[in-house]
Amino acid sequence: MSAHPLIFNERVDKALADPILKKALPLTQDRLRGGRINAAEQLGNVEEWRELASQIRSHTIANLDSYLEELVTNVRKNGGHVHFAATSDDAVEIITGIAKEKNAKSVVKSKSMVSEEVHINKHLEDMGIKVVESDLGEYIIQLANETPSHLIAPAIHKTREQVREMFSKVAGRQLSDETTELTAFAREKLRQEFLQADIGISGCNFAVAESGSVVLVSNEGNARLTTTVPKVHIAMMGMERIVPTWNELDMVVSMLTRSATGQKISVYVTGINSPRQSEDSDGPEEFHLVILDNGRSNILGTAYQEALNCIRCGACLNVCPVYRHIGGHAYGGVYSGPIGAVLTPLLGGYEEWLELPYASSLCGACSEACPVKIPLHDLLIEHRKDEVEMGLTPFSEKMAFKGFGFATSHPSVYETAVKLAHSGMGFLAKDGVISKGPGMLGGWTDVRDLPQPAKQSFREWWKKEGKGRNQ
């Protein structure tokens, strides 16, 4: 799925030794998690929202063939082109094919995790095409030659000083480390790129079947530029990112922005319904929708089907005590945090991603946070069971049977889980009574045979036991 030069143990070691991460991860987590909790409190009845959002997602996935068919019929009716890509290679062939046909010299992109899945930048660059990421965070990590480390905040592992250095190099002059100056430089620089780009490549937060629309959610406005300025727009969509009608869109967008950053709505929600129409004098002349499977269909009809309900809000990352310690890159795949630990082995296979289901404390905070109610920690336990059944266990078998992860026995992770859980409970308390089924820590205690956390830090435990499997 993704080239990861280091093995899992090495990636974790590297992350634990990184002083920048140690500071940045809690800061980001707390900020985003706090935003989500406030937004949930304001709603008052967040459980009802989650329930409906979950029903909408499950219904859509259960009827995915029908809604995709409706979507593509409408995209074509509106004058757009549709491409189905069963594999990552198919997607690359389609997109490089369009670039070749258009004789493209440069491409601007707005944030798209699917494009990371198929490594489209590399393939376009190999053809001699200039590719520029336009989301500020993505632009920063592109300059650093790295990959995103968080679904919502891709560059949290970069400091202001590092950004200043990289931007100064591009600018050819010394910039200050003021956020406003750095941002103003990025605006100016990226604006030039937009005005000369031949193709814009965007992701797709949600497609709307009834009208053949692609809906993009963004705060910066780069997704609007990407889908408006260049003559050709290509939207890359994971096949599950769809809702039946605009009415269902309401619920998923409301949940996405509230869960991601705590905003009631993002600054921009943009519906792209067709290429430019005869009376328009702006907007792309051509619109292509690339629909990617790349292993997703193998999840249908399995115990893991609900993982396809994911709306990529990042809430599960922001509550995860393991993510808090190791950050996004240690997971090795495109998707990190609890959803990455569930999804990556499904898309990329157990052989390569054996340890990921263990990158969890099973505290259940992720499942409690998920706006579409994916039982993330149950799915992680399911993975561990499946691995044991297949005779594949990354750590000692005894540990695996006990539902042990590399985090379950260490106080620092346990304490983080408890702390996060407690502060998360506020919004569930109604009239002074905490009204919810299994507690935040329910998932934790549900797992049989879990020992009390030892008096030992995560780091210590990792040194002694986490690396149990010698390569």
Partner: protein, 231 residues
């Protein structure tokens, strides 16, 4: 060839789901309406106040004025935002406010987004003016969002390229929340939607440098709304 790919793709989904292919499925009527309590019982006046308060929290001022105060109100925006040049929609609603006259009186270098003009020139000009002016179709009280159905003289670059953005909206077009707006879009599907619909809520923002909030990284960093009282 393409159709075969599509059929293979969709058939595979059906088979993985363990059932025959489905077609023409419609979503059920969702019983739950968890958003109702957010606005039920609120008067239109309260919704208007919500709209103003919510935008205020996003660094966006709203002037609530009667039509005859428009010239003065626009004059203030021009001063506040230090506007010397502007692009505006070719839109009857703006014409009815005599927008071009007011701009001329203020000696603003102004031009109309005209689909008959040279496209490249308009794009370049729009990229270099101080302010874009539009007339929104809807406002959402819960979020302070303005909704734009772009198309023709209502160019989507007008609300996007200039660093400052002025949106004019009629009070009567304020609805409670996204729910009512998507319902209106849904109702328009059969007659065909414009190429692009924008929901815009305050100024462009980013937190990508150490989670430090900054405005205007790509879209307009300053936004102002003039809300016209119903008369």
């Amino acid at each position: 060839m393409d159709l075969k790919k599509q059929e293979d793709f969709l058939n595979n989904i059906a088979s993985k789901l363990g059932r025959p292919r489905r077609s023409g499925v419609e979503p059920p009527k969702w019983e739950s309406k968890p958003y109702l309590h957010l606005y039920e019982g609120k008067s239109h006046e309260e919704l208007i106040e919500d709209f103003i308060t919510n935008l205020g929290q996003l660094n966006t001022k709203v002037d609530r004025i009667s039509r005859d105060q428009f010239a003065a109100s626009l004059g203030n925006v021009i001063q506040d935002f230090e506007v010397r040049s502007t692009v505006y929609w070719d839109d009857e609603a703006l014409d009815s406010l005599c927008l071009s006259d007011v701009l001329e009186k203020n000696q603003i270098d102004a031009f109309r987004w005209d689909p008959n003009e040279n496209e490249e020139e308009m794009k370049q000009r729009t990229a270099h003016v101080d302010l874009g002016i539009v007339f929104a179709d809807l406002g959402l009280a819960e979020t302070g969002t303005v909704v734009l159905f772009n198309g023709g003289g209502r160019g989507r670059l007008v609300s996007l390229l200039p660093p400052k953005f002025l949106c004019i909206l009629s009070e009567k077009d304020i609805v409670p929340r996204l729910t009512q707006a998507v319902q209106k879009v849904h109702e328009r599907v059969s007659e065909g939607l414009p190429a692009c619909i924008n929901f815009i809520t305050g100024p462009s923002r980013t937190g990508d440098i150490e989670m430090d909030l900054a405005f205007g990284v790509h879209g307009p960093g300053k936004v102002h709304v003039i809300l016209l009282k119903d008369e």
